[in-house]
């Protein structure tokens, strides 16, 4: 027994302690589930046992399910993976139901043994679903603990009874944020919401739990839904009080998910259908919908990208084989503007000492003020304590004195995007640094190899591209210049791990990876205006695809003048090779009109005085009248998707991108590429290379060579292969 440990105390209370060796957080594995099941059998069959407490040997209870289980269930079922998943899910239900019914007589509800969950800390997903099946949930008074059902965030939903039980504990409107938005609660809050039963001091957790077990009577351990006359809180779907809630919930989920996320729909169906039948039928219905979601390629793709692959990258999947710990101890941030301040903030927040440099003390101080502003906002929202804010600020030294950089083991330079300025800064900074320090430049447009030429040692020079705002955007692109060495890469990766962000490592090429893919998306949308396509169609189709912003709104948010500058610089750099399009004319026109976008309260959109968008600017359709005949939605959709996806494939083909997992993870974290799809490569696997080729060929014929099918994709289609080897498409049981 390696994961759940069983011990019977002198009072006859079994203590089942979840404590997986060599892991900081418990997750439920198939082996673990089998062990727990066996312990429950022991509790129920052994006459000397009066009841049980299920707890954890770690500071937290559990982080959730080991999502590899699903792949295993599918694989084990051979030709009929749906049956395998359904049976696997039902066996978990049976175990949890065994806990809940606790051996009591099914008719009289008498004679069961009390089983309590005692949560020392965080309890997520199955880590909360197991407690939900217990007769009482005790949580330690641990303000850092998070309790809830976050499954929806990785494209599935609580499928081990969490869905069915939570909507029987509380009405649909109260359950919706927990179930359908994955909102987590600290113990005190969870108690208020009725998610748990008691919050007790940490050192009394087990004692209080045991007390309850020893004192619980027959009636105390019968769940409301197992009692006669039980009514669904807030009303079942066809109860007059409940009906409109279900109508409203379906509409809200439909609108919010734009119909592209299968999990929320399935969860709501499980609730709607389940709330019309008795509990045991309801969990079976829940299992059917859960199976449906797990069999959906979108869910596989989201789990792969947002959970498995994202974690792998964060744990250094692409870290070079450099054995020594390269953690940053003292960081120098050069340039205290919004970007530099953001980098200083995220670093100081995790305890790194930061020297924040700017040209004069005043500018440097302004950078620190920016950090204080972010922290104050956090305090206002009760996300940050004054104490931790003070600690963070205490680690940041704003100064104009370059000598203070002495002893820095990592520099992140975030000065003005100009080759000359950056070169000069590099030399001035390196003069203060120890020989083995690593110099990183934060740039979004300048080639790293060129920037590295100013360095005294280009093997210890690297690009670290943060996205703005730094404290909110979790992706960091690490860019290798031509001569960047392994230690620089390891240093950058260890730093990104320290600040708890997600890294990808790419080679040096124009716009690196994320920006390279997002620019064509904006351009494709903008040039459609010139074809007389309705701006509303462009924006709505983009959002219906699952993009967070339509291309025109995105252009406004990025800023039109910035786009214009990038455009002019790119034209200059590429010369005759620059692919001119109507998009250039439109951006140049808006720039000339000083419609610089959201910040100017004027762009593709019109804005009111407060900066709120009021609709597409009339001038757009005056200059580019909407044509009578509008294209098929699918054509607009394909253009907007392929503009991004083809760029990702080209980045891979050209060796800029070295790992498709990075391409997928970065697409969602970096520019919000259709999260339901798992990223461009997962999406291609989902539709299949053959269909992708057909779409590209069709678009090429109609719109030109920017949609030319990459040879790699054509080859893949010919061989019937895909990017992930069947893991997304389900061709192979992964």
């Amino acid at each position: 027994m390696a994961e759940f440990h069983y011990e019977l105390d002198s009072d006859g209370v079994a203590i089942i302690t979840w404590d997986i060796a060599d892991k900081s957080m418990n997750v439920l594995t198939l082996e673990g589930a089998a062990e727990l099941n066996q312990h429950i059998d022991t509790v129920l069959s052994d006459e000397n046992v009066k009841g049980a407490v299920i707890t954890s040997g770690k500071k937290d209870f559990a982080g959730g399910m080991d999502l590899n289980i699903v792949a295993k269930m599918k694989a084990d079922a051979g030709d009929n993976p749906a049956q395998g998943v359904f049976d696997g899910v039902m066996s978990l239900h049976h175990m949890l139901r065994k806990i809940e019914r606790a051996g009591m007589d099914p008719k009289t509800n008498k004679g069961g043994k009390p089983i309590v969950a005692a949560l020392p800390g965080t309890a997520l997903g199955i880590g909360y679903e197991i407690p939900l099946a217990c007769h009482r949930i005790f949580a330690a008074d641990n303000p850092k603990a998070k309790i809830g059902l976050p499954e929806i965030l990785v494209g599935i939903f609580p499928g081990s009874g969490g869905t069915t039980r939570i909507v029987r504990k509380m009405d649909l409107m109260s359950a919706a944020p927990i179930l359908l938005e994955g909102k987590l609660s600290a113990p005190a809050d969870a108690l208020k919401k009725g998610m748990i039963d008691e919050v007790v001091p940490a050192d009394e957790l087990i004692a209080k739990s045991k007390d309850w077990v020893l004192n619980a009577g027959d009636a105390d351990i019968v769940k409301p839904w197992d009692q006669k006359g039980y009514k669904i809180p807030g009303g079942a779907p066809y109860h007059p009080a409940g009906f409109m809630n279900y109508v409203g919930a379906a509409a809200m989920i439909h609108g919010k998910t734009r119909g592209v996320y299968p999990a929320a729909r399935a969860a709501l169906s499980a609730v709607y259908e389940g709330n019309q039948v008795p509990f045991d039928t309801a969990i079976q219905i829940e299992a059917r919908w859960f199976t449906k979601v797990l069999m959906n390629p979108s869910s596989s793709a989201m789990i792969n990208t947002l959970f498995i692959n994202k974690s792998a990258l964060e744990k250094g999947a692409n870290r070079p084989d450099v054995s020594k710990d390269m953690k940053t101890k003292k960081l120098g941030v050069i340039g205290a503007g919004f970007m530099g301040a953001g980098i200083a903030f995220v670093s100081a927040k995790v305890g790194i000492e930061v020297i924040l440099i700017d040209r004069d003390q005043e500018s440097a101080d302004r950078g620190k003020e920016t950090i204080k502003g972010i922290l104050d906002e956090g305090i206002k929202r009760k996300k940050v304590t004054q104490e931790s804010a003070d600690a963070t600020l205490g680690l940041v030294t704003p100064t104009a004195d370059f000598e203070k950089l002495d002893g820095c083991d990592l520099i992140v330079e975030a000065v003005f995007e100009d080759m000359g300025v950056k070169h000069e800064t590099t030399q001035k900074v390196e003069a203060q640094l120890p020989k083995d320090a690593i110099f990183a430049t934060n740039t979004s447009t300048l080639p790293i190899t060129e920037l590295a030429k100013a360095s005294r040692n280009d093997t210890r020079f690297i690009g670290i591209h943060f996205f703005s705002p730094v404290h909110k955007m979790n992706l960091v692109e690490i860019i290798k210049g031509e001569n960047t060495g392994d230690e620089a890469v390891a240093k950058a990766l260890d730093f990104v791990a320290q600040i708890k962000k997600t890294p990808i490592v790419v080679n040096d090429a124009r716009f690196f990876y994320a920006n390279r893919c997002i620019l064509p998306y904006v351009n494709e949308g903008v040039r459609m205006l010139d074809e007389g396509i309705s701006p509303h169609l462009i924006e709505n189709v983009a959002k219906d695809m699952g993009m967070p912003l339509g291309p025109l709104q995105l252009a406004d948010e990025v800023a039109i003048d910035l786009s214009y500058k990038i455009m002019v610089a790119t034209q200059k750099a590429l010369g005759d090779d620059y692919p001119f399009s109507a998009a250039d004319d439109i951006i140049a026109w808006l720039n000339g009109e000083e419609r610089y976008g959201k910040k100017a309260k004027a762009g593709f959109y019109a804005y009111d005085d407060k900066g709120k968008r009021t609709g597409i600017w009339q001038g757009i359709t005056d200059k580019y009248p909407t044509a009578e005949d509008q294209p098929e939605v699918s054509e607009v959709r394909h253009r907007l998707i392929m503009a991004q996806v083809l760029e990702a494939v080209r980045a891979l083909d050209e060796g800029v991108l070295m790992d498709i997992r990075e391409g997928d993870v970065a697409s969602i974290l970096g520019w919000g590429f259709m999260p339901w799809s798992g990223g461009p490569f997962s999406w291609l696997d989902m539709i299949g290379a053959e269909q992708a080729v057909a779409i590209c060929d069709g678009l090429t014929e109609k719109f030109g060579e920017r949609f030319t099918t990459p040879q790699s994709l054509r080859d893949m289609a010919a061989k019937g292969e895909d990017f992930y080897g069947g893991a997304i498409s389900g061709k192979k049981a992964a």
Partner: protein, 405 residues
């Protein structure tokens, strides 16, 4: 094929479908039995056992309208033999017309000589929507079909086809004018019966909803009815825009004054073959030339009158110009405006006595009521051919072409 003839039509007045409406005190089954009894009495049908079936449209089949109201109405009736069965049908707003069409088609197919068809709805007593429904509440179906409530659909029509609030209000003002004039000149007298209590005391003898003197100013003061549910909770407009992505936003132009009112009422139509008339000494008033029904996009939902009219014209080999009069149910102003602009239909021939915006729309009964109005008006104008059509919930349309004989 045997011809199906309409021998007569009877309806109750349309009563205000609220607690202070005159018909609120009358049960739905009594309203249904009353119109059937009146039909039998007027036509001196001594042997009611010759009636093959009673087919009644009825939408909200729950509570007192549950348990097959048509059969209940037969048993409630003082005139109709218990050997006559009954069946309730629900095609939402077109149920009353659908009942007539089903009866007509059974006659045409020689399944019986004579039917009573019609419909009933006491919306004040059995609220619309109180029977629930998977289309709105089952998440799988609601999302698959891009469900939005009818009011949102009517506003989608207005947005998609460019009908402004003023256009809809102008239409509503005219409907009130026409209905007022028709009532005052006694045009409805031929079909409308007085609803009496069990002592023979009169309860209501005229359409109660009409608001004479309604003008643009009065309507202008009304707030849009569907803006909140569209833009805020739960936000149905987002769903509408997914289905109609070329629209920037939904213009919420409909309100209580340019939509049909909640109403109580019943109607019955006597439909039979030629032999039935000869046997009973009755002269047919019209022949059912054709019937049609169709399914359409459930989100915009209420555009059905256009495709179903195209369908019925195609099947009969007729053109829109062959029709002398139109009854297009005024569920919402935009529904009728869409029909008129699509067919370029002459408003002087369409809903000439007003419609549901002025008089109200007792869901299950309206289809049979407007068919009666159509026959009365064809006779009054001495015209030949008319079309009745209605838009229908969940995206359907129904139509009937009749011609005088």
């Amino acid at each position: 094929m045997t011809d199906a003839y309409i021998y007569d039509t009877v309806r109750t007045p349309r009563g205000k479908g609220r607690k202070d409406g005159a018909l609120h005190e009358v049960t739905a089954v009594k309203l249904a039995a009353d119109v059937m009894d009146e039909l039998v009495t007027r036509n001196n049908l001594e042997d009611t056992s010759q009636i093959e079936d009673v087919i009644l449209g009825n939408v909200t089949q729950i509570g007192e309208q549950g348990a097959c109201l048509a059969r209940s109405a037969v048993l409630y009736s003082d005139k109709i033999n218990e050997s006559v069965p009954g069946v309730s049908v629900n095609r939402f707003c077109a149920s009353g017309l659908e009942a007539v069409n089903m009866a007509a088609n059974q006659v045409r197919g020689d399944a019986g000589d004579v039917y009573i068809a019609g419909g009933v709805e006491s919306m004040s007593r059995v609220p619309m929507g109180s029977d629930g429904g998977a289309i709105a509440a089952d998440p799988y179906l609601a999302m698959k079909s891009y469900f939005v409530p009818q009011g949102i659909s009517s506003d989608i029509i207005a947005t998609e086809y460019g009908f402004s609030r003023d256009m809809c209000d102008e239409y509503a003002v005219e409907s009130q004018k026409r209905a007022t004039a028709a009532r005052e000149s006694g045009k409805f007298k031929k079909s409308v019966m007085t609803v009496m209590d069990h002592n023979g005391l009169p309860i209501l003898d005229h359409d109660e909803q009409i608001r004479p003197g309604t003008d643009m100013q009065a309507l202008g003061a009304l707030n849009p009815s569907f803006q909140m549910m569209g833009e805020q909770m739960p936000g149905f407009d987002a769903i509408a825009l997914m289905k109609y992505p070329h629209l920037e936003k939904i213009n919420h132009v409909h309100h209580a004054g340019n939509s049909s009112a909640i109403t109580d009422g019943a109607a019955a139509v006597l439909i039979g073959n030629k032999e039935f008339g000869e046997r009973n000494g009755l002269k047919p008033r019209a022949r059912v030339r054709a019937t049609a029904k169709i399914g359409t996009d459930p989100t915009i939902m209420l555009t059905g009158p256009v495709p179903v009219t195209e369908k019925i014209l195609k099947e009969t080999g007729m053109e829109i110009g062959d029709l002398d009069l139109f009854e297009v149910n005024e569920a919402f102003a935009s529904v009728v405006l869409r029909f008129m602009t699509y067919f370029n239909a002459d408003y002087d021939k369409l809903n000439v006595n007003g419609g549901a915006i002025a008089m109200g729309h007792p869901l299950g009964a309206t289809g049979a009521m407007i068919l009666g109005t159509l026959i009365d008006e064809l006779e009054a104008q001495d015209k030949e051919t008319g079309l009745a059509t209605l838009c229908i919930g969940s995206g359907m349309g129904a139509a009937t072409i009749i011609e005088r004989v």
